[in-house]
């Protein structure tokens, strides 16, 4: 079952949101994600919230996409390589007009079009089925090469987790993208400093992260992944250097938006207590 949104939505003519509007939208989406996770009985809260500002900026300002024509050939592509952040991604697709928001209540339920990891054949607007870490960048490289062959100026954005770059295939693709000069490929690392077993520098240290990407031949931008102006600047005017792929390393906070869980690696997956949810509703509601 391919879920496409009803025709009466007008989001395809969406006016790009500005920085302040995006901040509000991101908080609204955080709340939507939390409500969905609550309904599902649990979900990948931490990473969904840390990546939310970036995903909001992409879907409501940066990406050339059209929910009414989700397969148009010259669209930009977004790959959620860190597929477990679907609990954040699915609400973004719904809010952007690709899915009926009412379906969010089915998350993780039997025969739902979506759950923990997204399925491209069931979710309109989803460019690739993901979930197993380390695959997205190489898939994105294939897309970038194919789009360039056909002379589209489409860009391919690949969002990865920080722990995800432990995977060797990320670096195979990093080498390949630099070699093939795919400057239409943009990697984003959601650097929330936590992986599943603990703080990332105690599990496998990924530093010096900027130097790694530089040495692989990438253009590197380092930003605060919760500062909307910085996000927009980093995602605009790409490529920074012709012939080079770009990586945006976004310093973020796991669980951003729910103060009681922020920065705590235990919240890779979880379910907020009633009290935490009430407090999040109040805080995020106020910030909208």
């Amino acid at each position: 079952m391919l879920i496409t949104k009803k025709r009466n939505w007008r989001n395809n003519k969406l006016k790009k949101l500005n920085s302040m509007e995006l901040v509000k939208k991101a908080n609204e989406l955080r709340l939507l994600s939390l409500e969905m996770i609550n309904e599902a009985g649990g979900g990948h809260i931490g990473g969904s919230l840390s990546a939310m500002d970036i995903m909001t900026a992409l879907y409501f300002n940066i990406l050339n996409i059209d929910p009414e024509n989700p397969k148009k050939k010259d669209r930009d592509r977004f790959i959620l390589s860190a597929g477990h952040k679907a609990a954040g991604y699915i609400p973004v697709l719904a809010e952007r007009g690709f899915l009926d928001k009412k379906l969010l209540a089915t998350f993780n339920k039997l025969d739902s079009p979506f759950g923990m990891h997204p399925d491209m054949n069931k979710i309109s607007g989803c460019e690739m089925s993901t979930g197993s870490l380390g695959h997205g960048l190489a898939i994105g490289l294939g897309m970038a090469l194919a789009l360039r062959m056909d002379n589209y100026d489409s860009r391919v954005f690949v969002l990865m987790g920080d722990g995800e770059i432990d995977e060797g295939t990320v670096w195979e693709a990093a080498m390949g993208a630099a070699h093939h000069s795919t400057d239409n490929l943009i990697a984003i690392v959601d650097y929330n400093k936590c992986s599943m077993d603990g703080p990332i520098n105690q599990i496998i240290n990924i530093e010096p992260i900027e130097e790694k990407w530089y040495s692989f031949g990438w253009e590197v931008r380092r930003i605060n992944g919760h500062n909307m102006d910085e996000i927009l600047t980093a995602l605009s005017n790409l490529p920074n250097e012709k012939g080079k792929p770009t990586v945006i390393i976004a310093d973020t906070i796991k669980g951003k938006g729910v103060s009681s869980i922020e920065g705590d690696y235990h919240w890779h997956y979880g379910l907020l207590s009633d009290k935490q949810l009430l407090s999040a509703r109040k805080k995020l509601g106020e910030e909208q």
């Binding site: 399925d119 979930g131 294939g142 390949g176």
Partner: protein, 322 residues
């Protein structure tokens, strides 16, 4: 679906490996969406001719098969038909998860063209033997598994696979398989081919083992045993009807494959017979062992993959008939 047009004439005096390279160039001219992906083995996999003819449609990923297979998925989402070439053991094992998760699960139109399978690289030793790939590949939903034999069949299979919708694993064997076919014939994915009529026993094989099966049948006839020989070039979806017919008409089956008996052709055939028409069945193949090093023919003899083994097994299986 384009019209199948590869004919015997063009592939008469050519090795099966070169047939692959030649068929790719023919198809490259016909199908503009074709792109060729390699992993630093375009020369030995015979993709080089395509690469020379279509440099802008050829992409080398270096020794990084996982990246190549994942990238193939990306190409396919953009409307290309990627031919991902590498040694079979690398596609089926090194890049196993990419095949399953990035290609089969989303059901993308990627053609995995595996060369040097079976014991093609006999002296390479176990690291380079490809004797588990069918077991692995046939376990993935959405994936079609095709294993041609001689040069003409390789060329026809390449053409059919390219026109066939969805992901396919094409298993090509050694460079020099003697000709099984002496005249033109129709190749259709999923439809086995009756190579020899007979009603005493059926030998089902593919690839190099077809040659052994035909030799065995020649010998058996002298002992008044009429062996039916079936070319099961498509392992998945397997030709159920032909298997059931063979089981019911001949009452005994031998399967022969240059592959482990764990999960290969033999078990695929047994899966059909046990459910629809149980008959005695003996599996010729690698008996759950690593194979060691040696020249191809020596290894095959050691492992029991010869016409003689098929002959002995045929006599035995006939005695097992009720």
């Amino acid at each position: 679906m384009g019209k199948l047009s590869i004919s015997m004439k063009e592939f008469e005096n050519i090795s099966s490996r070169d047939a692959f390279g030649k068929a790719l160039t023919i198809m490259g001219k016909k199908v503009p969406e074709l792109v060729l992906l390699g992993a630093d083995a375009l020369g030995s996999t015979r993709g080089a001719a395509f690469a020379k003819m279509f440099p802008k449609r050829t992409f080398n990923f270096g020794i990084a098969e996982q990246e190549m297979i994942a990238a193939a998925a990306g190409f396919a989402t953009c409307g290309k038909i990627p031919i991902a070439t590498a040694y079979g053991f690398l596609i089926s094992m090194r890049a196993c998860e990419q095949v399953r998760t990035d290609i089969c699960y989303p059901n993308l139109n990627v053609k995995l063209m595996a060369t040097h399978t079976g014991l093609s690289m006999a002296t390479g030793g176990t690291t380079h033997h490809c004797t588990e790939d069918i077991a692995i590949m046939r376990s993935f939903a959405n994936l079609t598994v095709v294993a041609p034999s001689d040069a003409i069949e390789t060329a026809k299979a390449v053409e059919s696979v390219i026109y066939y919708p969805g992901p396919v694993y094409l298993r090509m064997g050694r460079g020099e398989i003697p000709n099984v076919y002496s005249r033109d014939y129709k190749f259709e994915i999923g439809k086995s081919i009756l190579l020899r009529k007979g009603n005493d026993v059926t030998i089902i094989a593919f690839g190099i083992m077809l040659v052994e099966a035909l030799k065995a049948a020649e010998v058996l006839v002298k002992e008044n045993i009429q062996a039916r020989v079936i070319n099961m070039h498509t392992i998945k979806p397997i030709d159920k009807d032909a298997i059931i017919k063979a089981a019911s008409e001949t009452g005994a089956i031998i399967t022969a494959e240059e592959h482990t008996v764990c999960g290969g052709l033999g078990e695929a055939v047994a899966g059909v017979t046990s459910a629809f028409c149980p008959v005695p069945l003996i599996r010729i193949g690698i008996q759950d062992t690593f194979c060691g090093i040696g020249p191809e023919d020596g290894l095959r003899k050691k492992l029991g993959l010869t016409a003689e083994n098929i002959i002995q097994a045929s006599k035995k299986v006939i005695l097992m008939k009720k």
